[in-house]
Each structure stands twice: as C-alpha cells, then as structure tokens.
C-alpha cells in the first residue's frame, strides 16, 4: 500500500502550483468568450471617446480643473469601464461556479484547496482587467488625452480599483444560495449611483453636500482621482492621494479575505 508519506509527496506539486492550475483553467475558459472580451475592450473606449471627446467637450470649451474636458474625463471613464467589468465579474461568475456550473466543486474534488481556487480566480481577473485597461489606455493616448508620462500608472490603478469593487461582491455572491434579483438590485442601487456620483463627468464639488459621502465611500471616485493625478498632475493634498490608495487597498484586501472565507465555508460544509 502506498504510504502516507508517498501520498503527501504526490500532492506536493499541486500544493505549490495549485493557484496557477486554477488560473490556467479560467484563462482557457475565457477562450470561449474571448471575442466578447476583445470587442468590448476596443469598442467601449472608442464609443465613449467619440461621444465625449467630440460631442460633450464642445459644451465645455473652457475645460475643467485647468485642462481640456477630454483630459479631465478620460481617466475617470477608463476607471469606470474597468470597475464595471470588476462589478460584473464579482457577481454571476461566482454564484455560477457554486450553483449552476458548479465548477468550484469540481475543482475542489482534486488536491486544489478553496484558497487556491480563489487565488486562481483573482489572478485570471487581474489579467483580464490589465488587458481591458491596457487597450483603453492606448485608445485615450491616441486621442491625446494623457499629457503626462506617468499616465500608464492608470493601468495598475484600474486593476486595484476593479479589485476594490469585485472582491466584496465576490464574497457576497459566494454566500448566495440563489439569485432572487439581488444582483439586479446591487446593479441599480449600488453600482449605478456609484457611477453617477463619483466625479466621473464633473468634480464632486458640484454634487449637493448631502450626497458627497457617496463619492467618499466609492472605490470609483478614489480610483478616478488617482488616475487624474498620474494622468495630468491634478493638484490635491498628498494625504488625500494616500487616502485614495489606502481606501482601495482596504476594500480589495478585506474583500479578498472575506471571499476566501466564504469559499472555504461553502466548499467544505
């Protein structure tokens, strides 16, 4: 009979590389809807930039914050696009892995641990966000909407921002038994207001005071402001820039820990 030590030795490789095997599966699955990812990645920025750059910016000839309207709005549009992909990926794909396609249960029947399943899910999403953000960045660069050389930092900021919204939603979705309209409700009552009141098209100083708190708790506002700092050197106190980062990292990290816990609970019960 194979000894316990032999068995442990056989499980060594998955113990070390399980997170990557789990990523690999996700990337391979993406092949099935790659055309959607590519088309939307290219299509989104072009539609936005044509509408806003050519259309709306004519109404604001003086620009905002000392820069042309397109330069002001471009980082925020990039962030809102990637963060909305993040919100999407934190909902149906997670519940589906438990409820409809049960892929997470299938993987957990192998030496892969729940933590590695989550890690693989996150790594594949980081790649997906980077791809979409990278294409968006190139598009706004081509439209001449990124004055500074540090503008490329919008890509990692977008990934962080997307994680800040995706991981808390993933933690929530992993506990759901069924979608009885919760996702639609989140979309309408959380995601949509966030996009409208996060200083995307105008500074939050234009929002009535009693609504400003929405921006302060919105990962999108923090990501957009960071994007503006690196894209055109928006002036703000350094503590505020640091606060943006702290908020995003906190959302992402707490969400990731809760997601891991939810996966362990659901897969081992």
């Amino acid at each position: 009979m194979t000894s316990a030590a032999d068995i442990a030795a056989k499980a060594e490789k998955p113990r070390r590389w399980g997170w990557w095997y789990s990523t690999e599966l996700r990337l391979r699955e993406m092949k099935g809807y790659l055309s959607y990812v590519v088309t939307s990645s290219f299509g989104n920025p072009i539609i936005y930039l044509l509408a806003l750059g050519v259309g709306l910016s004519n109404l604001v000839p003086q620009g905002i914050d000392g820069v042309p309207f397109l330069v002001f709005v471009a980082p925020a549009i990039l962030m809102s696009t990637i963060l909305s992909v993040g919100a999407e990926e934190g909902m149906y794909p997670v519940l589906s892995g438990f409820k409809w396609h049960k892929v997470f249960f299938a993987i957990h029947a192998t030496p892969i641990t729940p933590g590695q399943i989550v890690a693989g899910f996150f790594v594949h999403l980081a790649i997906r966000f980077a791809f979409t953000a990278g294409i968006f960045y190139i598009a706004i660069l081509a439209f001449g909407a990124v004055p500074l050389g540090t503008g490329w930092l919008m890509i990692p900021i977008a990934i962080l921002g997307a994680f800040a919204i995706m991981t808390p939603l993933a933690a929530y979705s992993a506990q759901l038994e069924d979608d009885r309209g919760q996702f639609a409700l989140i979309q309408r009552m959380v995601v949509m207001p966030m996009f409208l009141f996060s200083g995307t098209f105008f500074p939050i100083s234009e929002i009535p005071d009693w609504l400003e708190w929405v921006a302060w708790v919105s990962p999108l506002w923090h990501a957009s402001q960071l994007g503006r700092v690196v894209s055109y050197g928006m002036v703000e106190p350094i503590w505020l820039t640091i606060l943006h980062l702290v908020v995003l990292v906190s959302f992402a990290a707490v969400g990731a820990l809760l997601t891991r816990r939810a996966f362990i609970t659901r897969l081992t019960r």
Binding site: M1, T2, S3, A4, I7, A8, K10, A11, E12, K13, P14, R15, W17, G18, Y21, S22, E24, L25, R28, E29, G32, Y33, H101, K102, V103, F105, A106, I107, H108, A109, T110, P111, I112, T113, L267, T268, R269
Partner: protein, 308 residues
C-alpha cells in the same frame, strides 16, 4: 490483512440542528467494491463527501488511505477519483479539454494529460466526441465523460455518488460495463445508490443506510438471505380489495407486506403458495413469482420502499 482504505468509526455530520449522518462505522478493504444503499436523504451523499475529503465531519474518527480528511484533504484527494451526483462538467470547455484541464489539477504535465485524456476518451467510448461541446451530449455520455475525468489521476479509489440516476436502461448498462472493468482491474469502488439492481450488480458488500444510520451490512446475497426469503409472490386484487383479501390469506407464506397496489408474500416457494391461495378461491387479477431483492430487504428493515 492489509490496512483498510477507509476506516470510519462513529462519524457524524450535523448541519445546525439537522443530523445528516448519525454515528456510522464501517471499513472498506483495498480492491473491494463497497455500496451505500438507501433512499434519497439517507445521508449517503454526505458520507461520500466526508470520505472525499471535501466536507468536514462534525465528530468521529475517519481515515482514508491512512490519512485524516480533516487535516490532509489535498493529499487524500490527489489519490481519489470522484463522480458527483450532479454532473459538474465545465460547459465552457470542449470534451477533451474537460479531461486535460482536470488532469493539470493533479500536477500532471501538459504532455501527460494529453496522452491520458486520449486513452480515457477511448475507454469512455467518446473518442469521436473529443472536440464536441459538452452541453449537447446525452446524459449517458456526460456521465461517461465525468467518469473518464475522475480517472485522469489514475486513482487508488473511485467514489461514485448515484452514478446512473436519471439514465435510460441502455445507458445504465453501458456504464455498469465500464465500472465493472475498473473493478476487475482492482480499482476500489465506493458507490451510493438507491437502485437495488445497481447495488447488486456492482457491490461486493453493502451497508443499508436510512436516516443517517446503518440498518444492515453484508454482501447482497447475505442480506437477502438474512432479511428476506428466497422468493416473493406478488398478487393484486385491485386497490380497494387488497387489504380485505390479505386478512383471509394471512397465514400463507412466512411474512407479508400489504402495499396499496399489491400484496407481497415472502415465501420459500412462491408457486406453491399461489396454488394454495387460488385453491381457497382468491383468484388474483395478476400474480408474479420472483426472487427476493435488496428492495425487499430495505422494505423489511424500514417499512418503506427505496424509490418513492
């Protein structure tokens, strides 16, 4: 005798107040084919999940391949093949990709998983579907693909949870044939089923489980000998008359079960008892003499039938 591959002592699984598995004990030897027979909700699947090192037991001692599933889950799972009750094939992937990606989870190289996948597609009679999508496959084909997937890591033990539920008779027989080959090659099989014919076909030894507890244990033949008679005579008088006729023939056979649609008479010689009943003037509308089955054992032990 070598170390058993599974040793369960008094294992329990509770979900809040609900006790799914209530202190059951059993052992499974290497190369043995072991069945858990019981109705839906008996605790079979929960027991399987504990053996498969995915569900944490509430109490009791359990070793699988000499290891504790609560602490050595990944190591145990590296040696198991698991066929879950509901197919959880990856619909985003093609047939062959379902096997290759799964093999990777065990640390197999890309070259290894490719070779193994082709062998197993052959075994599962799915070679011509290698590049097909999963969704349009028939139930039997999906099941065979799930079994092929569970064999990617050349497991020491195969766990099958209700392997043929929902399949038509022909598909079931193809599947049984494949599983029988594995058994012949020495793979340890552990299966749950609520079909008595499946338990009889595939298991050397069975535990009968109901409401989270073991009701009986032994080989199918042993259980039938112990808990039933050699033959069963089934007679029908029409649903409104069965009960009244039963009273008049209560002394026939060793024991009787009166079901809504028929009377079961447990007997060493069914034909003789049928002659006895008719000689008393109780001519049934239909009658049937058959061998006793595990269904009868279950009925005897629990007063209920397996499939409701």
């Amino acid at each position: 005798m070598s170390e058993p591959v599974i040793r369960a002592v008094n294992i329990t699984k509770k979900y809040d107040d609900f006790v799914a598995v209530n202190g059951i004990s059993f052992e499974v030897a290497r190369g043995e084919s072991f069945g858990l027979l019981g109705p839906n909700g008996a605790g079979k699947s929960t027991t399987m999940k504990m053996i498969a090192a995915v569900s944490t037991r509430t109490s009791g001692d359990l070793t699988v391949l000499g290891l504790d599933p609560n602490t050595d889950g990944p190591a145990i799972r590296s040696q198991l093949g698991v066929v879950p009750q509901e197919d959880n094939l990856d619909q985003e992937l093609r047939v062959r990709e379902n096997l290759t990606t799964y093999g990777r989870f065990f640390g197999m190289s890309h070259a290894e998983v490719g070779k193994r996948a082709d062998e197993l597609l052959e075994f599962a009679q799915l070679s011509d579907r290698a590049k097909a999508k999963v969704e349009p496959l028939s139930g039997g084909m999906k099941r065979r693909l799930t079994i092929a997937r569970s064999l990617m890591n050349d497991p020491q033990m195969l766990l099958l949870d209700e392997p043929t539920t929902g399949l038509d008779p022909q598909a079931r027989h193809i599947l049984w044939d494949r599983l029988f080959r594995l058994k012949e090659n020495g793979t340890t099989l552990v299966l749950t089923t609520h079909y008595m014919d499946e338990a009889e076909q595939l298991s050397d030894r069975i535990i009968v489980v109901d409401k989270g507890e073991i009701m009986a244990e032994g080989s199918p033949a042993h259980l039938i000998r112990t808990y039933s008679t050699r033959e069963v005579l089934e007679v029908r008088y029409g649903s409104d008359k069965n009960a009244s006729v039963a009273k008049k023939i209560a002394d026939v056979g060793e024991r009787q079960e009166i079901l809504p649609d028929r009377i079961l008479i447990y007997s060493a010689d069914g034909e003789r008892d049928l002659a006895e009943i008719t000689s008393r003037g109780h001519h049934p509308t239909t009658s049937l003499v058959r061998r006793s089955s595990l269904e009868d054992v279950f009925l005897r032990l629990t007063g209920r039938s397996l499939v409701e």
